[in-house]
Amino acid sequence: MKDNQLAKYIVKRILISVVILFFVALIIYSLMRCLPTSYIEQVAREKSMQPGSKSFEEWMKQLTAMYNMDKGIPEGFIAWLGNMFRGEFGDSWKWTVPVVDKFADTVWVSFAMGAISLVLQVLIAIPLGIIAATKQYSKTDYTISVIALAGISLPTFFFASLMKLVFSVHLGWFDLYGLVGRNYEQLDAFGKLLDKAHHLVMPVTVLTVISIGGLMRHTRTNMLEVLNADYIRTARAKGLSEKSVVYKHAFRNTMIPMVTILGGSLPGLFSGALITETLFGIPGIGYASYHSMISGDIPFSMFYLTFMAVLTLTGNLITDILYAVVDPRVRIS
């Protein structure tokens, strides 16, 4: 009976997500279509200026045909959706390879960065959040709270620039840009891996520091809520040691919301870090999409926007489902 309900709930959530995705895709498509036509012409002109490129007329024809610009928005959208289901996203103008190829090229670096950073966040933020909650209003709590807030308030680009100034320029530990060093080609397989890891240290640090605050605050709030619950008072009244109260009774209950949040953030690992990757010149999905977007590469941008929407929806879906699975009190209706 219960499994049946859960399955029904999941199916319903997925259906709603599909409908939302449809509308988001429609909005993205309309937006792209609403770009002033002179802009498309301008892109075509720039493209035709490049050495060895096709003529302006040919580019215009390709641009309009590729995006069904000659049709109305609804027909064009349906044609685009059809292509999307067949996995045809066209060729990227900026990178001159099929969009899907460029995506496959870049996404794994981003994923690696995101995954390492997420693990670090969990390892640092959750213990600190718990300490802050157990010692509420103490000096430790204040310090941790301020650090968390500072992490949230740090503008990525400023922190990244500071890191570069200190660690690349003054200490000379890392390169300013790029994923691989100068003599990457001469290294053996293990050396190549180490070289990449070395270049990822700064970007991953930046990613971790700027996103650690949110998780820390979340842990602290959840932990406080649990610590104020009646069953914790009961546990204390039974005479349990503070250690077992916090780590056995409270911590496990704190993990319920934490697991759902972390689960929901998993798809986001693929979305890349636009600013960080761009600043450090890491050729990930964020870097590729940023350069596509500012150079008017419509096929890649459309793909990236849709991809981001799918990731957000999947994340929400996972959160909702996990919540329903983990916490039996959640009413399924």
């Binding site: 301008q42 308030s153 680009f157 500012i294």
Partner: protein, 517 residues
């Protein structure tokens, strides 16, 4: 608790004795005063408030007090050495033709040099006889059919004054006189005097001079006077590399000479002071934080930048809040299909990747060359329009629970209009949460705007914003050399956002009646 009671009774006993049920024994605080009291007890939140007050004063008052304008450009005079002239010691034969169509072309010139080197006084070329005459030292003339068609020489005749033409006749006669050591020569009806150094005078006035050096000005409109040339040559002769010359208008210029042995050339560079943008000048008394890439005062730019960042933040949050409250209020109050519809719209907005979309639109506006001021307006509208769903969700959630309470039943029973029920009775109850979320989103809006401006897609020059001030750091040279260009802006940005977040946190705690402290 006990401590407090004792404290209160002690205080009271020292003044006057009230009976136990006297109202004056109890200090009554309004809810607002309670919130304020809780807020001011939180030292962190007060610090945040203080930082914000400082930022507002800095941005809004600072701009007025600052002696400089937002886009006032400063200049400094910079001495630069510019290529002025070149001196070539002539070691090769030069040719001058007697006229345009006499046929003294390069082949004949080559044949002539050949003949000269072999010591012949005539040669034949294409069935024409040419006669070469040595007129003086390193000075030859060539004639065919009894008519002179050109001369070849190493010493060069220069005019002393601007404007007059050097004709062939004059050159020939001057060179002939010079190479043969004569003291005077005649051209047409004029007689010229010539001294041993090669100076040609006519009726006592300087007219021309003959020398083995060629002096050419780099700029075609500069005429090098004879004095200049003579003094320059004298300096070169002495082997110095610094040369001062007083111009006809009485100004003294300094020149640097450098010798290029491979080209047998001296290049003469004139020291000229030019007015340039006072770029990246280090912090000083006039410019406390130096100047930026355009030669504008950094401190003043920061003040105006703060103004832009804060104003954009506020306007965006106002747009977000108005939209969010209206949509959330309607969804929460009406429920059912209205709620369903509005919440699905909110879901859709949540899914739209806002940063990429703003970047794309920014790039499009770049391409269309949208006016910076209009651009700023679009940016605010866009950020506001993409940011309301969070607030709508919060308002709806609160109202869903509030509308079930007794006071709403009462409001309905008294027949108050729906609009008033929502906006006069429900929304005021959401205000505390709204204030908190608005404060927090002020911080995040400022970061978003700064990020966009940093990428060059938000606020554009000539307007300053903290983000586009830091933009300079994209130049690695600036990153490594000029800390004062980007670190102050970053620190201000960080402090402001941090202060908004701390303030939001403090307000949340203060508004929460469950808070123990």
């Amino acid at each position: 608790m006990n401590d407090k009671l004792e404290h209160v009774t002690e205080e009271n006993s020292s003044k006057e004795q009230y009976s136990l049920n006297d109202d004056r024994r109890v200090r009554v605080l309004s809810p607002g005063a309670m919130v304020a009291k809780r807020f001011f007890r939180n030292r962190l939140a007060v610090t945040g408030l203080a930082i914000l007050i400082f930022m507002f004063l800095f941005s809004f008052v600072g701009g007025v007090i600052s002696p400089y304008e937002e886009d006032q450009i400063f200049y400094r005079t910079d001495t630069q050495y510019k290529e002025y002239a070149a001196v070539i010691q002539n070691k090769e034969y030069r040719f001058t033709s007697a006229g345009a169509d006499v046929g003294f072309d390069s082949i004949i010139q080559a044949q002539m040099v050949l003949a000269m080197q072999q010591g012949k006084d005539s040669f034949q070329w294409k069935d024409v006889d040419y006669k070469v005459t040595e007129e003086g030292e390193n000075f030859y003339s060539i004639s065919t059919g009894g008519k002179m068609i050109g001369i070849t020489f190493k010493d060069i005749v220069n005019l002393s004054q601007e404007g007059t033409e050097l004709d062939f006749e004059f050159q020939y006669n001057a060179l002939k006189a010079f190479t043969n050591g004569e003291a005077s020569f005649k051209v047409g009806s004029d007689t010229y005097q010539l001294d041993a150094e090669g100076n040609v005078t006519k009726d006592g006035d300087d007219y021309a001079f003959v020398s083995e050096y060629i002096i050419q000005a780099v700029m075609s409109d500069v005429f090098l006077s004879r004095d200049f040339k003579e003094q320059l040559l004298a300096t070169i002769g002495e082997g110095k590399d610094l040369f001062e010359f007083k111009d006809t208008d009485g100004e003294t210029y300094e020149y640097r000479l450098s010798y290029d042995a491979s080209k047998v050339t001296w290049s003469v560079r004139q020291e000229k002071s030019t007015s340039v943008f006072d770029r990246y000048s280090a912090p000083s008394k006039e410019h406390w934080l130096g100047t930026d890439t355009n030669g504008m005062d950094m401190m003043t730019r920061l003040m105006y930048g703060g103004r832009v960042s804060l104003v954009i933040g506020f306007i965006v949050v106002v747009i977000e809040t108005v939209l969010g409250v209206i949509m959330g209020g309607i969804a929460g109050y009406f429920g059912k299909w209205v709620d369903m519809l509005i919440m699905r719209i909110v879901d859709i907005f949540y899914c739209i990747p806002s940063m990429p979309i703003i970047i794309i639109l920014g790039a499009v506006m770049d391409g269309m060359r949208v006016d910076p001021q209009v651009r700023m307006l679009y940016l605010m509208l866009l950020l506001g329009f993409l940011g309301w769903p969070g607030i709508a969700r919060l308002v709806r959630g609160q109202i869903l629970s509030l509308r079930e309470q007794e006071f709403m039943t009462a409001a309905e029973a008294t027949g108050i209009r729906v609009r008033n029920r929502i906006f006069k009775h429900l929304i005021p109850n959401v205000i505390p949460q709204l204030i908190v979320i608005c404060t927090m989103s002020l911080g995040s809006t400022i970061i978003t705007e700064a990020t966009l401006s940093f990428l060059g897609l938000g606020v554009k020059f000539p307007f300053a914003s903290w983000g586009n001030i830091i933009n300079d750091v994209n130049d690695t040279f600036v990153l490594t050399t000029y800390w004062f260009v980007w670190i102050p802006a970053g620190v201000l940005l960080l402090l402001t956002v941090l202060a908004f977040n701390i303030l939001g946190d403090g307000l949340r705690d203060a508004f929460d009646p469950k808070m123990k402290r």
